[in-house]
């Protein structure tokens, strides 16, 4: 009796998979305007109301809030595309099909990061446009660029947090739960109202929240941060990222789920 063993040493092109996976994931999202349009417009609308029209201090507020709403804006797609997206795929059994297919798990993550970046970039551009055109925000070219870069890269810890949520939550409860985390966390981190206007206790709480630290890093570029050490902020964000990578990895590799 012969026993057949595997013979394929060839591998499919990883970049081609990454490209196609990102393309399909993006198409899927663009064709669901009911999700994509509100996600894009929500932060811009908030900024326009509270940062430009009803601003308390026309000299500094539009600039400050443009940055913090930028943080708010990039966190949204990260939490939703990963958190809700994965929970829904899991709920439908689609995630199972992907899991038994030879798709590299990294391709799934890569595609969603690309999607998150595209959304984040569009949101940041819209905010910059509103700020520059309607609120006379004036920054150096290097500052615009650096803030955009910080915001984009800063969405990564939230991708990881979203991924963990997506692997734990049920598809039916995921949207509500993610909102319950997203909105209060954004408010308590001082993204809507500057942190310095908060009572001391709340300022202390903000120190434990990752959006606060991302906002502080971005605000440092225009000297509007509270003055803490840059590495403290980076350290907190990295810690969050590592802890949630471990949690997500554990959830993903946990077998016998059903």
């Amino acid at each position: 009796m012969q026993i057949s063993t595997h013979q394929n040493i060839l591998k499919p092109s990883l970049w081609k998979i990454y490209f196609l996976e990102s393309k399909t994931e993006t198409l899927r999202m663009l064709r669901t305007p009911g999700f994509s349009v509100p996600t894009l417009l929500f932060p811009v609308m908030f900024y326009t109301f509270f940062g430009i029209i009803f601003t308390m201090n026309a000299a500094t507020m539009p600039t400050y809030l443009m940055v913090t709403y930028g943080v708010f804006g990039v966190i949204g797609p990260a939490l939703f595309s990963f958190g809700v997206g994965i929970a829904v795929d899991r709920g439908q059994g689609w995630f199972d099909i992907k899991e038994v297919s030879p798709m590299p798990a990294s391709a799934y993550i890569f595609a969603r990061i690309v999607l998150t970046f595209l959304f984040s970039l569009a949101i940041v551009m819209l905010l910059f446009f509103m700020g520059a055109v309607f609120a006379d925000v004036e920054l150096l070219r290097s500052q615009w660029l650096l803030i955009a870069l910080i915001l984009l890269l800063g969405s990564l810890p939230f991708c990881v947090i979203g991924m963990t949520l997506g692997l734990f939550l049920k598809s039916s409860s995921a949207p509500a739960t993610v909102n319950l985390i997203y909105l209060p966390m954004g408010f308590l981190s001082g993204l809507w109202i500057p942190i310095t206007l908060f009572p001391d206790v709340m300022q202390l709480i903000a120190n434990f929240l990752p959006p606060y630290h991302l906002a502080q890093i971005a605000l440092k570029v225009i000297d509007m941060d509270v003055g803490a050490n840059l590495w403290l902020h980076i350290g907190v964000l990295l810690t969050y990222t590592i802890v949630f990578i471990i949690l997500a990895n554990r959830a993903y590799n946990k077998k016998d789920k059903k």
Partner: protein, 300 residues
């Protein structure tokens, strides 16, 4: 065929699987050969899906051994040689059939040609439709296309024909037969016994986590050595009660059905009782009869 069966591609040895305190699989051992269709049959909760999920590496393996192409279930080198069609409630809505298939093709080293996938799965007319707009049967065909698009050497089909109409089912059967001819091994679970009977080279019957029977469809059918004798007679049922005790007699009006393990002997006895016999036929048990009977035996 005889040659193909010499080549073993997978072996499952003494696999048991426990969920909480209950065993879903108990000491299951079986082999899979190249180019065969192997059906796993059993009532709901018999352990069919658990067994498939063990082979796909979706469940942890703690008792027993599984090797497929010499690899552990779940490793990507193995996944690249397998296709799997699972029961799914929804596909991503806003992608077309074509986009779905092309994406899945990219996961494989030597994918099947796109046109061939579409043809085999019968998707020619709906290539550019969003999966949102597909009917239940069309979705099943798309899932089937995704499972075969990588030119798999081993294909798992979990209830593939659910929701398909009779034409779609027939064409699925033709495709399965064609893939088999090309040397693909197919592991199939199904509720349609006719499907298993037509397609399978071998059948494994599970009940309460154990393999209660395995063999070719013919072997399984003939493992029940009783035959059904049916005829019309105006003789009253009382006259037949003296037949051998292992026969069961059913009578409705003039129509008689007698189950017998020794047909010749029983027929002799019948004719000794009366000559008033017409429309006589002797038929072998169908797979369905065998299935019910074997399950009943194993539960006793």
């Amino acid at each position: 065929m005889q040659q193909n069966r010499q080549i073993k591609i997978a072996s499952i040895n003494n696999v048991s699987k426990k969920f909480q305190e209950k065993y879903a699989l108990i000491d299951v051992s079986m082999d899979i050969y190249q180019g065969e269709v192997l059906s796993i049959l059993g009532p709901n909760g018999a352990g069919k899906t658990t067994l498939i999920n063990m082979m796909l590496g979706r469940l942890s393996l703690k008792e027993g051994e599984i090797a497929i192409f010499g690899l552990q279930p779940g490793v990507i080198e193995l996944k690249r040689q397998c296709g799997a069609m699972l029961q799914v409630s929804g596909l991503p809505d806003m992608l077309t059939v074509k986009e779905h298939v092309q994406l899945f093709q990219s996961y494989y080293t030597t994918p099947m040609q796109y046109d061939k996938v579409i043809e085999l799965a019968g998707l020619e007319s709906i290539q550019n439709q969003y999966s949102k707009n597909l009917s239940g049967g069309q979705k099943q065909r798309l899932l089937f296309a995704l499972s075969i698009c990588g030119n798999p050497r081993l294909l798992f089909l979990d209830e593939p024909s659910v929701g398909m109409d009779i034409n779609a089912r027939k064409s699925l059967w033709r495709t399965i037969t064609e893939l088999k001819k090309q040397g693909t091994s197919i592991v199939l679970t199904t509720h349609y016994l006719q499907e298993a009977d037509q397609l399978s080279d071998r059948i494994i019957m599970l009940n309460q986590g154990r393999i209660i029977h395995q063999g070719t469809p013919n072997e399984i059918k003939s493992s029940i050595n009783s035959r059904k004798i049916s005829f019309i007679s105006s003789a009253s049922i009382d006259q037949f009660v003296n037949l051998q005790s292992d026969n069961t007699i059913e009578c409705s009006g003039k129509y008689y059905e007698i189950q017998s393990t020794d047909t010749v002997q029983t027929l002799k006895q019948i004719f000794a009782i009366t000559d008033d016999i017409s429309d006589l036929s002797v038929t072998r048990a169908a797979l369905e009869d065998a299935f019910l009977l074997l399950n009943k035996e194993s539960e006793q």
